[in-house]
Amino acid sequence: MPASSSQPPPVTPDELSPLPLFVGVPTHELRALISMCRSVTFAPRETIFREGTNADRGLLLLSGTVRVHTTADDREYLLNSVAAGQLLGESGLLAQAEVRSASVVAATPIRALELTRRNLSDLRGSHVLAAIQISMLNASARRLRQTQRTMTSILVRAKPTAATRAPTAHPSPKTSAWSAFLNALGNLA
C-alpha cells in the first residue's frame, strides 16, 4: 500500500469522536487507538488496495472518498464508493487473511488511520474495539444483502428444474454446481 511518504499531521481525538461509529467511546480510548495506529494520506487516483494482493490491514477513512472496483474479463467494474467515517478493506482485519477481492482508489485527497490485526488484538477489552467490530458487522451485513439480492435475481431468471428440489448431501455432477449455488444462497439466511 503506497501511502504518501511525507509525514501527515497527527490525528486527534477530536477528529474521531464526531464519527458515528465512535459515539460513546471514551476519549482516552480514542487516544490509545491513535497512538498505536499509523496515520496515512493518499493523493487522488492513488491505489490504496490492489485486487489480488494480501489483505492484512484496513483503513478508517477520516476524510475524502474512495472508489472500489473489480476487474473481470479485462474490464473494470465500479462496485461502490466509500466516504469518510467508514472502514475500508476490513476483511484484512479478520483472523483468516484473504486476498483482496477488489481494488480501492482514492477519488479525492484521503486522510486515514491504518488498522492492523495486531492493533485490534492490542485493543481487546475496550469500547473502541467494540465500536470498530460493530462497524465491521454493519459493513458485512450490507454486502451480504447486496450479494443475496444478486443471487436471488439470478435464481428467478434461471429457474432450472433442479431448483425445485432441495439440495441433497450427494448431488449428481449435473446438479452439483446449482446445488452449491443454492446452498450458498441458503447459508445467507
Partner: protein
C-alpha cells in the same frame, strides 16, 4: 460453525453471552423465521435441523438444509432490515432466541463474551460472503 475454532476453545464465554436469551423447543414444521418479517432476533440452533426457503414466482423454493449448530437471522439482527428467507424446523429443534435490542446491547459491551460473539459473527459472515461470491462468479 463446527469449523470455527474459537467457539470450541471458548464455550463458557459463548454460553455467558447467550444467558439473556430465551430457550425454545419446537416440533418439526415450526416456522422459526419468516421471510419479509423484521429482523427482530438472533437464533442459535443447537439441536435439530432447519430448512431454508425463499419465495419464488408465487411458490417457495428450498435453498438449503442447515444442521445444528447454526446461527440464524444474523444479518437481520445486525441491521434490523427485513428477513430474506423463511427458516422451518425440519426435525424437533432446540434453539436460543435473543431479541435484537438485547443482542445489540450485549454485543456492544467491552467484555470477552461480546468480543467472542462479534468475532464469530464476523468470521461467519465473511465465510458466507466468500462462498456466495464464489458461486456468483461461477454462475455469471
Amino acid at each position: 460453525m463446527r469449523q470455527v475454532g474459537i467457539l470450541r476453545e471458548r464455550a463458557p464465554d459463548f454460553a455467558r453471552f447467550w444467558s439473556r436469551a430465551e430457550r425454545i423447543d419446537v416440533p418439526s414444521g415450526t416456522v422459526l423465521l419468516h421471510e419479509g418479517s423484521p429482523g427482530d432476533a438472533l437464533l442459535f440452533v443447537y439441536e435439530g435441523s432447519v430448512e431454508v426457503r425463499i419465495h419464488s414466482d408465487g411458490g417457495s423454493l428450498t435453498v438449503a438444509r442447515l444442521p445444528a449448530p447454526v446461527l440464524l437471522g444474523v444479518t437481520g439482527a445486525v441491521d434490523g432490515e427485513l428477513r430474506t428467507s423463511t427458516c422451518i424446523a425440519e426435525t424437533p429443534t432446540s434453539a436460543l432466541r435473543m431479541r435484537r435490542g438485547v443482542f445489540l446491547d450485549a454485543a456492544r459491551q467491552a467484555t470477552p463474551e461480546a468480543e467472542l460473539v462479534r468475532e464469530l459473527l464476523l468470521i461467519t459472515m465473511h465465510r458466507q460472503l466468500l462462498a456466495a461470491t464464489a458461486r456468483l462468479r461461477a454462475n455469471l
